[in-house]
């Protein structure tokens, strides 16, 4: 042994490189740094064969002392054999021998990028690293990064919730809790753009102005809220209910294109609206008229289907309020009437719903 590997030299190496291995020419570990011995636990490393202790991943083919000696000075990647396969970075250099004799190799290791796993698996302390090692600083930066990321994540969560709330507010009619015109444009635009089939009911309250004029705005507001509840009561969760303004409402029903069922739904709704609505000792009475139009998907623009529902509503009002009229049936009836006048059969009148 040279003085460098004597007791005082060894203590110095342990301090400078607490994760080094001194391997003799025959591949036996002569000495292991204290942190490596700590990781190994009860199993003494000195005396073990190096290649029983660790397995080399890179460079490939390092399986004996000769091949390891040829890789001296190059970056090594290896891992512990055994239940805990801690990974290391390493570098090997020839160790000084006595005279011309082969002193074997000094292999110094560090955790490299596997530091976090190693800290967790072996509960290492700051004192397990050389005072010059940046491992503790790296852990500090990791901890700081995790803290800051967490703050960003919380901030993003708060901003996201605030955005959803703002969007909901922007799409909501505050009096009734139904959608507003912006919601209507958004939903109708989406359905038309996606080519989805849907039914549209344009509902106008009848005698609402009379309630407002005789019983006041508070009564009017109450009636609007009750009407909104009635609409929710006859529709599904996936339907969109819109207060388009004043006493005018739109029911958008995705997938619902059966004219008869839409008319039945509208009549049920009108019947509910005709129930007397008590308000502060008085009774409000209203009704409703509904115009129905359907889109089979991709066959018309938003303005066209709105105009059709509007035309059907106008016909319902003209026919004497409290009624639901379907755009398709309206046109079939007109064709029949015109045919009766001119004396020619109406083409396709029966199936034009």
């Amino acid at each position: 042994m040279t003085p460098a590997h004597g007791d005082s030299g060894r203590a110095g190496l342990d301090l400078l490189m607490p994760m080094h291995l001194h391997v003799a020419a025959d591949g036996r570990v002569v000495h292991a740094g204290p942190t490596l011995q700590r990781i190994a636990g009860d199993r003494p490393i000195a005396g073990c064969a190096l290649f029983d202790l660790v397995e080399f991943r890179r460079p490939r083919g390092v399986a004996d002392m000769d091949s390891l000696r040829r890789c001296a000075g190059r970056a090594l990647v290896l891992h512990w054999r055994g239940p805990c396969r801690t990974q290391f970075k390493g570098v090997a250099v020839p160790a000084a021998g006595q005279g011309d004799s082969d002193g074997g190799l000094l292999v110094n290791l560090s955790f490299g990028i596997a530091l976090v796993d190693a800290i967790r698996d072996h509960d290492l302390k700051a004192g397990d690293f050389a005072p010059t090692d940046l491992a503790v600083e790296m852990l500090y930066v990791l901890e700081a990064k995790a803290t800051i990321l967490d703050e960003w994540r919380k901030l993003n969560g708060r901003l996201h919730s605030a955005r959803i709330a703002a969007e909901q507010q922007a799409y909501t009619d505050t009096l009734t809790g139904l959608g507003n015109r912006r919601a209507m444009d958004h939903v109708l635009g989406g359905l038309v753009a996606d080519g989805q089939a849907f039914g549209l009911v344009h509902l106008d309250l009848d005698f609402f102005k009379a309630v407002n004029d005789t019983l006041g705005h508070a009564a009017g507001d109450h009636v609007l809220r009750v009407a909104a509840q009635a609409m929710a009561g006859v529709t599904r969760a996936e339907d969109t209910l819109v207060r388009a303004g004043g006493d005018e409402f739109l029911l958008i029903l995705p997938g619902q294109v059966d004219g008869t069922r839409l008319r039945e739904l509208s009549e049920r709704l009108i019947a509910r609206l005709e129930q007397p609505i008590p308000f502060e000792g008085e009774t409000c009475r209203i009704s409703g008229s509904a115009g129905i139009a359907v889109s089979h998907g991709g066959d018309m623009t938003v303005p066209v289907i709105l105009a059709r529902a509007d035309e059907a509503l106008y016909a319902a009002k003209a026919a004497g309020r409290g009624r639901a009229v379907e755009y398709g049936a309206l046109h079939a009836a007109r064709a029949v009437a015109e045919a009766a006048v001119s004396g020619t059969p109406a083409p396709g009148a029966a199936g034009a719903a």
């Binding site: 796993d117 509960d123 004192g127 600083e137 901890e143 703050e151």
Partner: protein
């Protein structure tokens, strides 16, 4: 001022005196009722208004409010992460104090835009248990926060110390630290592996 500082003061008031007191303070100081965002930068005047309102609402002197803030920052479970980050500064209290001048650089590693006072540690000639820390910042009062932090961190490390805020001259505040015993009690445990190392 960095939102982290404002938020720290806000959380100190909320966690120590309750949400109602924070609301009163926010109203008194014309501060955002919902509180501060840790990742935003606020005008310095906001922090000044907050501290002035804290003196009035809490009925305490500015110095003692700031010292309590320092205590809170390293002892309350809601800000445990700051205590952990500070404990990376040294394995013993003495090591920690000696590395105080690295604190602004450590903070900058985490948050480059966080502006902290320059700290300098000066050993007292002939007395190896005594140190003076100078805290150089145009804004008065950080020294009191530091006293609160150091007092609590000493307990955390298990050290017995005497701490004195010795006043201010210009932009500089002076703190005297006397370490009576570095290992007076067992202190609180500290492991390098934080929650981020969870498998």
């Amino acid at each position: 001022m960095h939102g982290l500082v404002n938020r720290a003061i806000q959380c100190f008031v909320r966690d120590t005196y309750g949400a109602d007191t924070w609301e009163r303070l926010a109203r008194a100081g014309d501060l955002p009722l919902a509180g501060f965002e840790a990742m935003f930068i606020y005008d310095d005047a906001v922090t000044d208004r907050m501290l002035e309102a804290a003196v009035v609402v809490l009925g305490r002197s500015r110095d003692s409010v700031l010292e309590d803030l320092g205590t809170y920052l390293v002892s309350h479970p809601n800000v445990e992460t700051l205590r952990r980050l500070l404990r990376f500064g040294g394995e013993t209290f003495e090591e920690f104090v000696e590395s105080l001048d690295e604190l602004p650089r450590r903070a900058a590693l985490a948050l480059p835009e966080l502006d902290l006072p320059a700290l300098e540690v000066v050993p007292e000639a002939g007395r190896d248990t005594e140190l003076r820390v100078t805290c150089n910042w145009p804004r008065a009062g950080f020294g009191h926060v530091l006293v609160g932090m150091l007092r609590t961190l000493a307990d955390d490390y298990g050290a017995l110390v005497l701490l004195d805020h010795e006043g201010r001259e210009g932009d500089v505040e002076w703190i005297r630290i006397t370490v009576m015993s570095g290992s007076f009690s067992t202190g609180r445990p500290f492991r390098l592996a934080g929650t981020w190392a969870a498998p």
